[in-house]
């Protein structure tokens, strides 16, 4: 095969030298694709050129021919760099495939079902910045009147955050049968995280629990972004925040628990900093922006409110998420009879 390639190369070279047409250069380039396909190294190309040249011009001075040996020497490392590059691309494809599988595993691991009962409308959206998510949403539906949600944010993103987050999931699973008051949940998860995570990992968490029997929403926070409550009667927002240290910093933390009463039309917005710290080309978004989007769609369903905020903020960032993005809406629909 190399001889055949060499023969064709010589013909193309001869034609170009005779005519010096753009057409011949075009054919030459088309031909070079074959070189790449056949994995002919740059140093081999020089060698093919040298051989062809010697046949086209048998009387070329020897010293000119020696210069090609020098050029071959120059090209050896280029050839190696090319092959290394090709092998690194293959390796990258393998890693990419592994991450895709890991993201699927994560999706299965994190499946959560939105509680569905009379009186409360719940919607949420969680989107990772990269393939794997460092935000975590988990719904609990203890009985037909209580809907709880855990929202955690592992600082950083990508694979390390995702690995860390799977541990929170097991912490939540271990809650079965325990007292699920917000302060107690954070206390249990904090102890688990404190034992298993190294000091450089920071996790914040918000836990909220809605009881339809008295329309109360109780909550506790481990250094998480404050939630917002929209009061239909006032037409404005108030922050919901409770004192508490980030998860895993120390084993004994006294998490404050607070509660609010919801009226019909009120809704609660829980978010991660991927929502509140959205950056556009001109800097961080104004705090009022999220509220004004929420106000615009306050009459819509909880899911539609969450989707709208996501779509608007995604557009503002030119469809590029810088951080994992999660927003959860609890909207009171009507009183239980």
């Amino acid at each position: 095969m190399p001889q055949e390639v060499g023969k064709q190369y010589k013909e193309l070279l001869q034609q170009y030298i005779d005519n010096r047409n753009e057409e011949d250069l075009y054919f030459g380039q088309q031909f070079s694709r074959q070189f790449i396909e056949k994995k002919i190294a740059p140093e081999d190309v020089i060698s093919i050129h040298k051989t062809a040249l010697a046949e086209v011009f048998p009387d070329l001075p020897e010293k000119v021919m020696y210069s090609f040996d020098f050029l071959i020497e120059m090209m050896i490392h280029y050839g190696l760099a090319l092959r290394e590059h090709q092998s690194l691309i293959r390796k990258q494809e393998e890693i990419q495939m592994e991450i895709n599988v890991a993201a699927k595993v994560q999706d299965t691991l994190l499946k959560t079902k939105i509680p569905d009962f009379e009186g409360i409308d719940i919607g949420f959206i969680t989107e990772p910045a990269k393939k794997m998510n460092g935000d975590y949403v988990y719904f609990l539906n203890d009985d037909n009147n209580v809907a709880s949600v855990a929202l955690a944010d592992v600082m950083g993103k990508g694979i390390p955050a995702a690995l860390c987050m799977s541990m929170i999931k097991f912490g939540m699973d271990s809650l079965q049968g325990e007292n699920t008051s917000p302060r107690n949940v954070l206390d249990i998860v904090n102890r688990i995280v404190e034992k298993s995570v190294d000091d450089s990992m920071f996790i914040s968490m918000f836990y909220g629990k809605y009881d339809a029997r008295d329309s109360s929403f109780s909550y506790a926070s481990a250094g998480h972004e404050p939630a917002l409550i929209y009061r239909a009667s006032e037409g404005g927002f108030t922050e919901l925040d409770a004192k508490g240290l980030l998860l895993g910093v120390q084993p004994d933390v006294d998490y404050e628990e607070r509660s609010v009463m919801l009226e019909v039309g009120d809704f609660i917005v829980m978010m991660t900093d991927g929502v509140t710290e959205v950056r556009t080309e001109t800097g961080f978004i104004d705090e009022g922006l999220i509220k004004s989007i929420l106000l615009e769609v306050k009459e819509e369903s909880a899911q539609s409110i969450a989707d709208t905020v996501y779509n608007r903020l995604l557009e503002l960032q030119n469809f590029h998420l810088r951080d994992d993005f999660t927003i959860i809406i609890f909207k009171k629909e009507n009183d239980l009879v």
Partner: protein, 133 residues
């Protein structure tokens, strides 16, 4: 057993001597210009590693024939500190990213066979072979 010759590596000039010997032997074996350059580059890399990391060592070159096939084998040996993490050194992108040259994967690519034996505090022995086709 074929014909074996060797160059001791103490200074940077010895790298050039090893290259010269390698190129001559490759030519005598019957390799073309490009393969001569490849074999010489592999020798150059191994000799440089000896010079940089072990201080001193030896490059041995042997022409041989086996079942009618001809080839060349190069043995690079030193009594240096050994290669601490051989798996890393054999990875693409490890040594080259620091601008250290072709690295071990490069040497492996230039040749047909590559064998390395290294022991911490004892030394390193690398044997590479190329067949004439």
């Amino acid at each position: 057993m074929g014909y074996r010759s060797s160059v001791d590596i103490y200074t940077e000039w010895d790298i050039v001597a090893a290259r010269q010997l390698g190129r001559n032997e490759a030519k005598k074996t019957g390799f073309g210009t490009v393969d001569q350059a490849r074999i010489t580059t592999a020798i150059s890399e191994l000799a440089r590693n000896i010079y940089l990391y072990a201080g001193k060592g030896k490059i041995e070159i042997e022409r041989f024939s086996e079942n009618g096939l001809y080839g060349i084998t190069i043995i690079a040996s030193d009594e240096g500190p050994g290669i601490p993490d051989i798996r890393k050194v054999m990875e693409d992108g490890f040594s080259t990213s620091g601008g250290l040259g072709a690295g071990m994967p490069g040497v492996k690519r230039l040749m047909d066979e590559f064998k390395v034996h290294t022991e911490s505090g004892v030394g390193t022995n690398i044997t590479i072979t190329k067949w004439l086709r």
